[in-house]
């Protein structure tokens, strides 16, 4: 019985193959990037000398930085695959399928899609390996042996991705199980508590303080731990405050909106500031990194003259590492914007079609959609960059932050981040046009 129903649900619906292919593709990209990052990190662990430890510590920082966009992409993929069936599952539930059957089906399908995607991702990773092996660290390429992961790691990652999909499906579908009509009845827009901002500011103050005492902290491990805590804490704060600020701004935009696209965009953001945030939070990370990278590179440059060869190599490698982290994070941001947009376009296909019938130009819908992503993006990018600059201030001083080289790197990375999101939007434009055509 479950098998038959699962097949009924799995058949491509009116949306064509896209609802199946999109999450699978996203899972493939998540897997490939995760394996790539792990492969690179693994090669660092083969070094056992003193410098090796420094590299390992830096690799941990890079991994932490990449976890945020990675998990947001994974979440987007899982949500997309779960949401696709929400409606049909609600129907099933109305027809009398037991909650257990509904849950089992949802999880089953998400997991199947995730595993298919993840296996494709492993293949993609093998295609990337020769390229990663060429990346130079400590004066020589990493080499195939270093970056090639063993079978346990591969199996572990595929399993992890499947688990993520299952968890997301269970969470996403709890409402359907609780109330058969849950999916169809939309509740009021969620409210966020002002307490967030208080907690957030407190954590940033602590991070600021930690950075101020960093120079006198003594051992390298303590410094790295404090650096990590300050970064992690600030990122967590951005996650806490981001949606709140986005909501605040969108509310005033909704009040002041004069054109249909502005009104639609602001209301779309207000509908779920958290979702708006999730979509661009990867860019918060990259703006954060932009400040980090910009000041770091300027700082390293200022040491240039005095340093010995080993330090020079380390500086060059840090630059390489920063570059890789930024690029990887951009890739994931672009993918999650694409996946999120695709999901919301599919979700709203009926509505877009009806608006087209009413005579709303597709250009207006497209403008509203763009604005609903780009406006939170601007807030996020600028807000995160400023926060990062504040936290870095005690460490580098204002002269380094406003040095031309820092500012140039920061501006370039921010511009690239915004451009990447814009690409994700442009890439999904044909989907909107198709779904709005009457």
């Amino acid at each position: 019985m479950i098998g038959r129903v699962a097949w009924l649900l799995a058949r491509p619906g009116t949306g064509g193959l896209a609802p199946l292919a999109l999450p699978a593709t996203a899972f493939a990209i998540v897997t490939a990037l995760l394996l790539t990052v792990l492969g690179g990190a693994q090669s660092f662990w083969s070094w056992t000398d003193d410098m090796g430890v420094t590299y390992q510590a830096l690799a941990v920082v890079a991994l932490v930085l990449l976890v945020v966009p990675l998990s947001s992409l994974g979440g987007a993929a899982a949500r997309l695959s779960a949401r696709r069936r929400d409606d049909r599952l609600a129907t099933l539930r109305l027809l009398g399928a037991t909650p257990a059957t509904v849950s089992a089906l949802a999880v089953l399908e998400s997991v199947v899609l995730a595993v298919v995607g993840a296996v494709a991702g492993v293949v993609l990773y093998f295609l990337l390996v020769p390229l990663i092996a060429l990346i130079p660290f400590r004066g020589e390429p990493l080499g195939l042996d270093g970056v090639l992961l063993g079978l346990p790691a591969l199996v572990g990652v595929v399993g992890g991705v499947a688990l993520l999909a299952a968890a997301s499906a269970v969470l996403g579908l709890r409402q359907v199980v609780i109330s058969p009509l849950g999916v169809r009845t939309r509740q009021d827009a969620p409210k966020l508590h002002w307490l967030r901002i208080v907690v957030g500011l407190a954590v940033i103050a602590v991070a600021f303080g930690m950075m101020a005492v960093l120079q006198v902290a003594g051992s390298a491990m303590v410094i790295l731990a404090m650096l990590g805590a300050a970064f992690g804490g600030t990122i967590a704060v951005l996650n806490l405050i981001g949606p709140w600020v986005i909501r605040l701004v969108a509310r005033s935009q909704a009040r002041r909106a004069k054109t249909p696209q502005r009104l639609l965009a602001a209301r779309a953001v207000l509908e779920s500031p958290k979702a708006a945030w999730r979509q661009v939070s990867g860019v918060a990370m990259t703006s954060f990194m932009a400040v980090f990278a910009g000041t770091g590179i300027a700082l390293l440059g200022s040491f240039g003259e005095a340093a010995d060869t080993e330090s020079m190599l380390l500086f060059a490698d840090i630059r390489t590492g920063i570059l890789i982290t930024v690029v990887g994070s951009f890739l994931m941001v672009a993918c999650s914007v694409g996946v999120n947009q695709a999901a919301s376009i599919l979700d709203r296909a009926d509505l877009s079609r009806s608006l087209g019938m009413l005579g709303m130009p597709t250009a207006t819908m497209e403008a509203a959609r763009r604005r609903s992503v780009m406006s939170p993006l601007r807030i996020t990018a600028i807000g995160s960059a400023v926060t990062a600059a504040v936290v870095m201030l005690p460490l580098t001083g204002i002269t380094i932050i406003v040095a031309p080289l820092s500012l140039a790197v920061i501006a370039a990375v921010l511009a690239a981040g915004i451009g990447v999101v814009w690409l994700g939007l442009v890439a999904t434009k044909p989907m909107l046009e198709r779904s709005a055509s009457v």
């Binding site: 009845t185 004069k258 009104l263 509505l351 130009p361």
Partner: protein, 238 residues
Amino acid sequence: MSSFVLEASGLVKSFGQTHALAGVDLRVRTGESLAIMGASGSGKTTLLHCLAGIVAPDTGTVAFQSGAGRVEVTALGERERSRLRREAFGFVFQQGLLIPELTAVENVALALMLNGMPRARAEEYGGGWLAALGLAGMEDRRIGQLSGGQAQRVAIARAQVTGAAVVFADEPTGALDSATSAEVMRALLDSTTGQGRTLVVVTHDADVAGRCSRIVDMRDGRIVGERVPAGASAEAGA
């Protein structure tokens, strides 16, 4: 004398092997309420879409007569048809298909804002229509906070607010119980023919059709009959 607001002749529309419309001639009088009935798949929605310039027929013509003159709908490009729909027509679908994140009054005002009216005035007008349809005090509710019948009345307000010459409704009461359905139909008629405007409604519901001034029956992509519902003749002549 009666003038025709819409004149369709020789409409043919096929989807692959399916002949959704197999030669339809239809004239819609200004100020009448016309019900289109027929079995599922007989071509009602396709006819409505052709009349409203949503889809272009394979052959045949549709002309729209307004105060501003006569427009050959079938000769217009997609962009111009879209503008015609926005400015001269109103639509009510089976499911309200309102924008869920907007409030009731914003949904209505949006139709005016798309035609360039400033927001404050658009919301004032929209609020007026909502009140006229018995939704006073619900302007700031989001669509999810309204009942099916209330949401449908918001959709009616949206279809009316631009002063549409013709309102097209495709099974506007299809998702409602019979009591709510009667209320919605009354609201729809009051705000269209009651104001000298024209209503074209596709329906399966004999009660709904019975409230209109004229009924055409469709079968296999053709109009096979025309009737005047009992008790409607007096109104129709007015």
